[in-house]
């Protein structure tokens, strides 16, 4: 199969538009930009509907069927189409670059069972030793549903057992611990908090210096630094125009700090 993929890679450039030596990173960025563009078009079209009198009336009457009807005409972003495109593009690259594009496809396909299954099969078979697997593993929970819990579990196990790289392994351990904790109270098997904590500690060690370590340490940070009566930790960052500032610049003022977003 690997040979077959290589053969396909050799043939494809004649079929697809030439990429002109573009990096895989650039390809990923273009795909992301296109998806964002489609999302913006979708939101705008949706807003026209939700601002309409007919929609407001349907909302008021709690007429879900009518609401669905009204929204049905709004064209959604083509997640699957773009994911398929990413998979095609992936054939033009090798190794970690291919993994990045395949990972993009799985994460952005909108939970398409076929695509996620296909990508995970290929990654498991040909790329389990790639350091770039973290792109996909970061979003492993998005994949758990289309993949099915059992398949997700075996994939994570394989990464933990076979990946020679810290970060993919750390992510896999992290999600394993999440699955273990979530198992709690769901009948047979149940949760195992002690085992989950052990996996999490292992993941944190492997992820040192990466934001995953911060994420894992989050609840502890909250307990130790974010309780009422404690001095708030400083935040050093930049605003959405790229201008740097710090939370402590506002010392001397009463501050409402609000973690928010439009989405």
């Amino acid at each position: 199969m690997k040979r077959l993929l290589l053969l396909a890679a050799a043939l494809l450039p004649t079929v697809l538009p030439a990429q002109g030596g573009r990096s895989a990173q650039a390809a990923v960025e273009e795909l992301t930009a296109e998806l964002n563009r489609q999302k913006a078009v979708y939101r705008a079209a949706r807003k026209v509907v939700t601002d309409s009198e007919a929609y407001r009336e349907a909302r008021k009457a709690r007429d879900n069927r009518r609401i669905r009807e009204l929204l049905a005409g709004v064209e959604r972003p083509d997640n699957q189409g773009l994911a398929r495109k990413a998979m095609e593009l992936a054939q033009q690259y090798e190794g970690d670059d291919r993994v990045r594009l395949l990972g993009w496809a799985a994460v952005n396909c909108g939970g398409d069972k076929g695509i996620v299954g296909e990508v995970v099969d290929v990654l498991e078979r040909d790329h389990i030793d790639s350091p770039a697997l973290d792109v996909l593993l970061e979003k492993a929970m998005v994949l758990a549903r289309p993949l099915g819990q059992q398949r997700a579990r075996t994939f994570l196990e394989k990464v933990v057992d076979e990946s020679p790289h810290k970060l993919p392994k750390a992510w896999a351990l992290y999600w394993q611990s999440v699955l273990l904790r979530r198992g709690r109270g769901r009948g047979a098997g149940g949760g195992d908090p002690a085992a989950a904590a052990k996996l999490l500690a292992e993941a944190e060690k492997l992820a040192q210096g990466h934001w995953l370590a911060d994420k894992i340490a989050g609840p502890r940070f909250k307990k130790e630094h974010l309780q009422i009566g404690m001095e708030a930790p400083n935040i050093v960052g930049e605003d959405l125009d790229g201008v740097p500032f710090e939370l402590k610049d506002y010392r001397g003022k009463v501050v409402v700090l609000d973690f928010w977003g439009f989405w």
């Binding site: 340490a217 974010l226 708030a232 439009f262």
Partner: protein
């Protein structure tokens, strides 16, 4: 939520008060369009291109949005999570405390 915060900022514009966001929109263009439409006048840290998995919210252990902390003028966390009228009351209390302190 945004209309309330907008009016809070407007009401207290001459007071030693600031509403500071940590915005978790991954797509800045989308943020800009919405911020304009909704009349967002306050400043936010950007949580980066990973959105809700960004560095600031990861470090602060944020798992739900919105998450709100109210700090007094010394930077001490005094309230966690007040919304609506409760947020207003918290801020008013801290402003009054500050005035009583003669600072």
């Amino acid at each position: 939520m945004i209309p309330h915060e907008r009016s809070l900022v407007e009401r207290l514009k001459d007071k030693p008060f600031a509403l500071i966001g940590v915005n978790s929109d991954a797509d800045k263009d989308y943020y800009r369009a919405e911020a304009k439409e909704m009349g967002v006048t306050w400043r936010s840290f950007w949580n980066g291109p990973r959105g809700t998995s960004g560095p600031i919210s990861s470090k602060w252990g944020v798992t739900g949005w919105p998450t709100i902390y109210v700090l007094d003028h010394k930077g001490v966390i005094r309230f966690i999570g007040p919304r609506g009228a409760k947020m207003d009351a918290a801020v008013d209390q801290l402003l009054a405390e500050m005035e009583d302190g003669g600072e």
